[in-house]
């Protein structure tokens, strides 16, 4: 029993981090499901984190209120910049969201209230494992329901062929904005939760590299189902721990894994179609029903 307590004491932060990463990967999955490659989720995470942290530090709001604020603030921003930005598509949208992300980071860096480059420290510990578990499960459930709902199917239609979707009467702009904003909410929640178990946040954590990390996780896991992003997030969060013995070459291995997955497993690690194919192959090979 002692060793379990020790294990938890040593690795609890890691487990929390996996949960947060999974939430972020799901937020990106949501925007991707509507065909939007948005690199803004790291910035939304930052907005959520700073909003929540400032409310805790200065106004001492209770934690649930702080979390709610952390979800609402980025949503508001998303609604504001979404309208003009989402007219772009493909790589141009990616670049525009990237530029937005960098501008957000620079803004946070230069404001006094956010502590500038020194960030905010002394954020009290408020996140418990069940907060993360609950929100992650809730998000997973909501997204699973979303996929099968009208909204989700509209997203899919837009992703497949925007022009056809419009001709079918789907209000493309509105749906894109919805996907973008919902993604921002999830990312903001992740940020607020994260701020309250790492004691300290700074602008450096919400920049281009972090946006790329989130993208990597989601692609690694695969976007055909919700399990993919969660799997990708877990692997990328745990990998540095598992490969500690590699020392300096750890990062290189991260990059290699990305290349290998992209080359040989393009649909990501968890591809429901490929898995179903493998299962049915096995069944037919055993001589059962095809």
């Amino acid at each position: 029993m002692g060793s379990l307590a020790d294990f938890w004491a040593t690795y609890s932060t890691l487990v929390f981090t996996v949960g947060i990463h999974a939430l972020l990967a799901l937020s990106l999955w949501l925007t991707l499901s509507c065909g939007l490659l948005s690199l803004a989720n790291a910035a939304f995470m930052g907005i959520g984190a700073y909003t929540a942290a400032l409310l805790t530090l200065h106004l001492h709001w209770p934690f649930p209120a702080v979390l709610a604020a952390g979800a609402v603030a980025p949503a508001v921003v998303a609604l504001v910049i979404g309208a003009p930005t989402l007219r772009l598509s493909g790589v141009y949208l990616a670049m525009a969201t990237l530029a937005f992300g960098e501008m957000t980071r620079i803004l946070i860096l230069n404001l006094d209230i956010t502590g500038g480059p020194e960030g905010l420290n002394g954020i009290p510990l408020a996140t418990a494992w069940w907060h993360i578990a609950l929100i992650l499960a809730g998000a997973g459930y909501a997204l699973a329901r979303l996929r099968r709902s009208r909204l989700g199917r509209a997203f899919e239609a837009i992703r497949e062929d925007e022009v056809a979707a419009r001709l079918m009467g789907i209000h493309v702009e509105g749906h894109k904005l919805a996907a973008f904003t919902l993604g921002a909410i999830l990312a903001g929640l992740a940020g607020a939760l994260n701020a309250h178990f790492t004691f300290f946040i700074s602008p450096r954590e919400y920049g281009f590299e972090n946006a790329v990390d989130i993208l990597t996780m989601t692609i690694l896991g695969g976007t055909s189902s919700l399990i993919g992003p969660v799997l990708g997030a877990s692997i990328l969060a745990l990998l540095p721990e598992l490969m500690r013995f590699l020392h300096a070459y750890r990062l290189a291995v991260n990059g290699l894994i990305l290349i290998v997955v992209v080359l040989f497993l393009p649909t990501g690690l968890w591809d429901s179609r490929r898995l179903r194919q493998m299962l049915s192959d096995r069944r037919s090979r055993r001589g059962g029903k095809p």
Partner: protein, 293 residues
């Protein structure tokens, strides 16, 4: 002060343009956002530093070595990774993600091989000398960079317009399938483009590394971000766009630092990028493509 700031802007803009040339070439021909261009740039710089420090070679050899090494790395990236993705007709973002992986691998390799400390070029080989016009100071090296940027742009432009290979490349950029049907060796030209673009990146690395005399494994990252902005501003795939986009960005940055506040330099750069994307996403020289419904 204004004259000096304008010169500052010209040299900074040329630095950006030089980096963006290779970057935009890959996008124009291969339609890939090659995010490993920053790493290739960095490795070119390290190659030159190593050759010049270890083997006491002169600058010209250093540049040649950087050109070759970077070019070969670019070629390898194409042959090993990008080609396979092309054969699969992978959507645009997938090669981009692969190049992110390549960047991580190359940057770690550089850290492992060369260490994390800042490396400097041997002081004996640094071109000294500067021009002073009244209150304005300009180093020979900076003038060289401006010159090389314009020269290369002019050269590439002429090649694209007036040589067979250039025309073939433009045909590929229009439609790879049609080009193949016309008998153009599409794969071969793709590989050539990758080599040349990376080689350009390597040379940019040497010149820029020399100019600031600071070579680190992470030096490719900030300039990559700016390079993306340049290429969007100027129009992706357009060589003139790389030069003018670079100059535009350089001027915007320097003048906002000079007359607004030094905090605003980066914010202005990205703000401009954002604005251009909203107003004219294809950039200064990009062609607006018709959507065929």
């Amino acid at each position: 002060m204004l004259e000096q700031q304008l010169i500052n802007a010209l040299t900074l803009g040329s630095v950006y343009a030089l980096f963006a040339l290779g970057f935009t070439l890959v996008f124009g021909v291969l339609e890939v956002i090659n995010l490993s261009h920053g790493a290739v740039f960095m490795l070119g710089s390290y190659t030159a530093v190593t050759v010049m420090t270890r083997f006491k070679a002169p600058l010209s050899i250093g540049i040649l070595a950087a050109l070759l090494v970077s070019g070969l790395i670019g070629l390898a990236i194409d042959a090993l990774i990008l080609r396979r993705l092309r054969a699969r007709h992978a959507p645009h973002l997938i090669p981009m993600i692969a190049t992110i992986g390549v960047t991580t691998v190359l940057t770690s390799a550089a850290q492992g091989l060369f260490g994390v400390e800042v490396q400097r070029f041997p002081t004996e080989v640094l071109p000294t000398g500067e021009f002073v016009f009244g209150e304005v100071h300009l180093r020979t090296l900076e003038l060289g960079i401006v010159g090389v940027a314009f020269l290369l742009m002019g050269l590439l432009f002429l090649v694209m317009r007036h040589t067979r290979q250039g025309r073939a490349l433009r045909a590929i950029a229009e439609s790879p399938k049609a080009a193949a049907l016309l008998g153009i060796n599409v794969e071969g030209l793709f590989m050539l483009t990758s080599f040349v673009a990376a080689a350009l990146g390597g040379v940019a690395g040497v010149l820029i590394g020399l100019n600031f005399n600071a070579v680190t494994p992470m030096m490719g990252q900030p300039i990559l971000h700016k390079g993306i902005a340049v290429v969007i501003l100027g129009g992706m795939g357009d060589i003139r766009g790389a030069l003018f986009g670079g100059l535009f960005l350089g001027f915007a940055e320097v003048l906002s630092k000079a007359y607004l506040s030094s905090q605003m330099g980066d914010a202005v750069a990205f703000g401009l990028l954002f604005l251009i994307l909203l107003v004219r996403p294809v950039g200064l020289f990009g062609r607006v493509l018709e959507r065929k419904a």
